[in-house]
């Protein structure tokens, strides 16, 4: 890996006696999308707050773009974009005014309308954000996160509340940003999204990273490959699941290939299945 854009080293943080983050370490390279997956309360938000300089770690270090967050947060923030899960926009201001205000904080002069057009809000630039739907606010959040063409992007549930078309559009923008060279840390509950977007995924549970690898590698290493065969059985339908990892699976499949065969589906392990094998529970709980 080239010089990491984001590097977390042995991060610890506790709320009172509860250790929310217990020794998290990972790195994200420029142009890489790292999916950060875990159930509620796993320590994702606390980790992101430390990575973005909102919380000071009890111990450990955060290095972003080669700079220590503890000593150079202002410089780092100037090259960073954050899309919060909370829709923390100025509701009594218009979409354009929101972007113009944040651009001023960055010391930038921007074409707000262009940024809004990119997220599909070009025709709502003068409307107050208070009148926006949840999905529109989410797109505004993305537009704001991208204002300064950041080198590092922290995206917390960036497609939350979006319809499938808008979500696909936002995923396209995330890919474009990564292609431009931005390091992206993506937090999501949507396994398919993580699978589709992430170059690597990290599973976090109870404040610890359980696994960190490419989605395909994780699924191959920890999931079960199988096929589901459906055949006619008199008036009903018979379903047989054949593991592809076991011996004799080819012969088993060949035996089932007769005129009663209705369909064959691959039963590839999902990231959720892999997560369960690590954490003993699903991402929803």
């Amino acid at each position: 890996m080239s010089q990491p854009a984001i590097e977390a080293t042995d991060l610890h943080f506790a709320y009172g006696d509860h250790e929310a983050v217990a020794g998290v370490s990972f790195a994200v390279a420029p142009g890489e999308i790292l999916g950060f997956l875990g159930p509620n309360g796993a320590g994702k938000s606390t980790t992101i707050k430390m990575l973005t300089g909102q919380l000071r770690p009890r111990s450990g270090t955060v290095t972003v773009l080669g700079m220590d967050m503890a000593t150079a947060s202002a410089q780092i923030h100037g090259r960073m974009g954050v899309c919060f899960e909370e829709k923390n926009l100025y509701n009594n201001m218009s979409a354009r005014e929101n972007l113009d205000f944040f651009a001023e904080l960055f010391g930038l002069s921007i074409d707000a309308d262009e940024h809004l057009r990119r997220v599909g809000l070009g025709d709502r630039a003068d409307d107050r954000v208070s009148g926006f739907s949840k999905g529109m606010k989410q797109r505004m959040m993305m537009a704001r996160a991208l204002l300064n063409d950041p080198d590092v992007l922290f995206l917390d549930e960036p497609t939350d509340g979006l319809d499938p078309v808008s979500a696909a559009s936002i995923r396209g923008i995330i890919r474009q940003e990564a292609a431009r060279g931005a390091a992206v840390l993506l937090t999501t509950h949507d396994m398919h999204e993580a699978d589709e977007l992430s170059d690597r995924v990290a599973f976090i549970n109870e404040g610890r990273i359980l696994a960190l690898d490419k989605p395909e590698e994780l699924k191959l290493a920890h999931g079960q490959r199988s096929v589901k065969v459906r055949r006619r059985a008199g008036e009903g339908v018979d379903e047989v699941i054949i593991s592809l990892d076991g011996h004799g699976s080819s012969a088993q499949l060949a035996d089932l290939m007769d005129d009663r065969l209705m369909s064959i589906h691959t039963e590839e392990a999902t990231l959720e299945d892999v997560f369960i094998t690590f954490a003993g529970r699903g991402l929803g709980g």
Binding site: V82, N88, L89, Y90, N91
Partner: protein, 358 residues
């Protein structure tokens, strides 16, 4: 501190305030209301004591030669009953009911009783003065001298002698109106801060090059300017800048900064308008007491003089009503400055803690 960032915050907050119809209306209506009330309040003080008398008083009135020029106006009533009714109705402040044959009885040295009739609210010292006056009248009527030698007394009035030119209620109320305006603007700032915290926009701001100190400074400057400008309008409208305008402006600016400090606390502790109002009132009601105390003659109690807002109210009152200048106000300015720094430091500390623990 980044001035560019602070300027961006100031523009944004001004916009947000302008769009908050509730506070704009409250400010506008409040200003009109205070100015209206000020104009209605009498601008002079009636120093004449209206006294009613009944009974055998013909000789007495001739001898005592009461008239309006001495600060005492005497109204005669035909009977004690009519006098009592007049006191009850507030037509006269007090009444002396002389019995029939008063003059003759006093002249003969016979015991006689005079009723001193007062309403509920008459100060006890005035009641005593009336009783003494009755005794003196009796001595005069009987032709005897007082049992003690007449003392020579010299009146010494420190400062300007306001006898016959007392400070009117209107003038006494100027500090109160100024403080009421400061209070409304403090609530407006508190609401703005609470909204920023509740909507978590502050989190978004703090992951940009803007620093926490920029945010705190912008809120302090915005709150101070907002409160100061509103107070300035009311001070001009109330004619408070005719004497020592720079002095009045200086203390008003310090006062605006002080209430801003308390507003930051209220905004940090509040979750919505109602809770911000609650916390604001908790701070502001005690702070308004000194301005209220100055509406009445006499020296304020020690605890009132120890209040942070006392120097502000005192300087505005003494400058606008008593003609005080920088020399007289110096001590108050130092005290107010110290309170101002303390309030802003405390408010910033509370807000900073709230932002960190969000």
């Amino acid at each position: 501190m980044h001035l560019r960032v602070v300027w961006a915050f100031l523009k944004k907050d001004t916009k947000a305030f302008r769009r908050d119809r509730f506070f704009v209306v409250l400010t506008f209506v409040g200003l009109l209301f205070y100015i209206g009330i000020f104009q209605v309040i009498p601008d002079s003080v009636d120093e004449i004591v209206e006294l009613g008398v009944s009974g055998d008083i013909g000789v007495l009135l001739e001898g005592a030669s009461f008239d309006d020029s001495g600060g005492l106006s005497v109204a005669r009533f035909g009977s004690e009953g009519a006098l009592v009714e007049a006191v009850e109705a507030g037509e006269v402040m007090a009444g002396l009911a002389f019995p029939d044959g008063f003059v003759a009885a006093v002249g003969a040295g016979d015991p006689v009783s005079v009723k001193v009739i007062t309403g509920q609210g008459l100060p006890v010292e005035l009641r005593g003065a009336l009783t003494s006056a009755v005794r003196e009248i009796a001595f005069g009527v009987s032709g005897q001298v007082l049992p003690v030698a007449q003392l020579a007394a010299e009146d010494v009035v420190l400062g300007v002698d306001r006898a016959g030119d007392q400070v009117s209620m209107r003038e006494r109320m100027r500090p109160l109106f100024a403080f009421l305006v400061l209070m409304v603007e403090a609530i407006a700032l508190g609401s703005l801060v609470a909204e920023e915290l509740q909507q978590k926009t502050v989190q978004a701001v703090l992951v940009t090059p803007a620093r926490m100190r920029d945010f705190l400074a912008s809120k302090a400057v915005f709150g101070t300017l907002l409160a100061f400008l509103e107070a300035l309008i009311i001070l001009v409208a109330l004619g408070a800048l005719s004497a020592e305008p720079l002095l009045v402006l200086a203390v008003t600016l310090l006062g605006a900064a002080m209430v801003t400090g308390f507003a930051l606390v209220a905004g940090s502790l509040g979750r919505d308008f109602i809770t911000v109002l609650f916390w604001s009132m908790l701070f502001m009601i005690p702070l308004i007491v000194p301005a209220g105390a100055l509406m009445f003659p006499g020296q304020a109690a020690g605890w009132i003089r120890a209040m942070p807002s006392y120097p502000l109210a005192k300087v505005i009152f003494e400058t606008t009503a008593l003609g005080a200048g920088w020399a007289e106000a110096a001590g108050s300015i130092v005290a107010l400055g110290a309170w101002c720094v303390a309030a802003l430091a405390f408010g910033s500390w509370v807000l900073r803690r709230r932002m960190v623990t969000q």
